[in-house]
């Protein structure tokens, strides 16, 4: 059977950094229930214990020696998240999902740079994570709204992503991989990188992209789509069409400054690049069916 997923799949072996904390522990159970192979937890000071049937270590190095994980999901608080991620990078863990919110921007800059130099993929920070429906979940998203299918779903949001996945699943449009890039201004794996991977992923027949105000990630993504004559249909939705300028709308990255980063600019950029933009969430499914026909429906 082909292994699916652009980032994680049923063979992924993950550790949870910050596993013994409230969030880490809670989601450990849910991820394992989903089928994710959580091989170990890391919390300094709790090494040698077992929690949720998972062995806990003091250091990432110890977990790596015993179980050779290839992914990590980080639940540690903002003050220690950079350190935790650096530890994972130093131990050559190739995919790191950072659930942690409120990471200082300076830390995010250091983190992303270090990861890039070491060819480590960072997802987040401030992300709900990534899920390959039917195979693996490294994140906090509610599993029930996701169904296995052919649409790659990428988003800057959390609950809005679930909302849209829910809409799609109800229309029998399942997802190949769903990934939250995170709501902060400086993040790791972004839309363009996701599109590159989806391009080569056989299971993915189309992509749904959920953007929001702030920054110019969507504009640059539109440029990438146009310049590369991106071979698969892309449908987008941009949140924050009605947002006022100069006010941060929840996400650290969602702010229109000096007229830059407006929803209008993003919608225009996508439209000019041949991406169909939905006016409301329920239109995404309609647009996907229009672009791809019924073959976009899950089997």
């Amino acid at each position: 059977m082909t292994i699916m997923g652009i980032l994680i799949n049923r063979d992924t072996r993950a550790i949870i950094q910050g596993m013994t904390g409230k969030q880490g522990s809670y989601h450990c159970v849910l991820m394992r229930e989903y089928g994710t192979r959580i091989v170990a937890g890391v919390t300094p000071g709790k090494g040698g214990t077992i929690l949720n049937n998972v062995p806990v270590f003091d250091m990432v190095e110890e977990a790596v020696k015993k179980f050779t994980p290839n992914a990590s999901i980080i639940f540690v608080p903002a003050e220690s998240a950079l350190e935790a991620a650096m530890e994972a990078i130093d131990n050559k863990i190739k995919t790191i999902v950072i659930i942690t919110e409120r990471l200082p921007i300076k830390d995010a800059i250091t983190l992303i740079y270090t990861a890039t130099q070491s060819q480590v993929t960072i997802i987040g920070p401030n992300t709900p994570g990534v899920i390959t429906p039917g195979e693996c979940k490294l994140g906090v998203m509610p599993a029930s709204v996701f169904t296995k299918g052919k649409v790659g779903l990428i988003s800057r949001s959390g609950t809005l992503t679930y909302e849209i996945a829910n809409c799609l699943s109800k229309e029998r449009i399942g997802q190949s991989t769903c990934l939250g890039v995170g709501g902060d201004p400086v993040v790791g794996f972004n839309f363009i990188e996701s599109l590159k991977r989806f391009k080569d992923d056989e299971q993915t027949k189309a992509i749904a992209l959920i953007g929001e105000i702030g920054g110019n990630l969507e504009e640059l993504t539109a440029q990438y789509i146009a310049q590369t004559h991106y071979p698969k249909p892309v449908v987008a939705f941009i949140a924050g069409v009605s947002a006022p300028p100069e006010k941060r709308m929840g996400h650290a990255g969602a702010i229109i400054m000096n007229n830059q980063g407006t929803a209008k600019s993003k919608i225009e950029a996508f439209t000019n690049a041949g991406v169909k933009v939905a006016e409301k969430p329920s239109d995404i499914a309609k647009l996907l069916i229009k672009e791809c026909g019924t073959e976009i429906l899950s089997e």
């Binding site: 949001s157 920054g215 949140a239 009605s242 709308m249 929840g250």
Partner: protein, 379 residues
Amino acid sequence: MKLFEFEAKRLLVKYSIPVPEGVLLSDEKQMAEFADKLAPPYVLKAQVLVGGRQKEGGVLFADSIDEAQKAAQSLLGKDVKNLPVNKLLVEKKLPVKRELYVSITIDRLKQMYVTLSSTNGGVNIEEVASKNPLAVTKMLINPQHGLKSYRATAMAKKLGYCGTQLLELTKIINNLYLAVIENDAELVEINPLAELDNGKFAALDCHVLIDDNSLYRQQEYKTILTEREKTAEENYALKKDLSYVKLDGDIGVIANGAGLEMTTLDLINYYGGKPANFLDLGGGATIQRITHALQIVLFDVDTKIILVNILGGITHCDEAAQSIIDTLNIYRVRKPVIVRLAGTNQEEGKRILSEAGIQSVDSMEEAAKLTVETVKKGV
């Protein structure tokens, strides 16, 4: 978190970046006290957290103490761009030869700090950049190595300086970088950085933005955080870990998730309504926050109706519903509430609401539409 100009200048002084001599006034009578400390001519600047003060009359000039006192009187207690002027920065007006622009901010695409510099100082830098991109020099700062001194020298040379002035300007740029790094600033912008008649430099205006996420390790800024740019409700929300922004409509809107909330507001607009606020409950279990959030929108005099949109994963819909009912029962304020509940324990949640006479809708779009229609019919 935005700093007032006088706070930004204090920061510059801490990093040995020269600023004009000045005093901070909260009362025009104080002007007389400073007469012997500060000689005319003066520039009086309203301390408000917006740009473009000058156009709105927030910057005045005076050639004598008397004129300054009158100018101070006219500015203090008035509004500039709808913001009250509580403090004035009165500075000695310096003879300027040339105005430069220097800033350090974050390049979101390259994910690094970037320095921006231009010989077109004193005007809006976005306008400069859009009219003539070459007029603004950008230089990325390698996260591992930081700003190397010779790069600062290169920047200063590009601005047209040599000799002693080159050294002075290089020092300013290096110190600007330290200020950014040590204070977790997202932006430190000096516009204009003036070259004075006597060849020295002075930062005539400065904007600083401190990363809100760094306040836990920037105690000095944390203590001065509240009350700025924010209404009483916004401050309350901040304390309760809610993301709240007041808008100018009459529909109170609450959702769990920033993107979900933004979309709910967009839908309200789409169906012809006007939201009164942005209010994000945040992720994770949000039951306690529901109470505080509802309090805010219920007591907002502008709201005629409230829409709550919960997509519950970790948050259980039945607990959310109970929390909504309990909160409404505590407060006598009667405003219609429409709830959209979806996710974990959805049916149970809807049952609880229905028993309490609260309308619930399955679809977010239907909920937004219904809310707008209800307001239009008159509540």
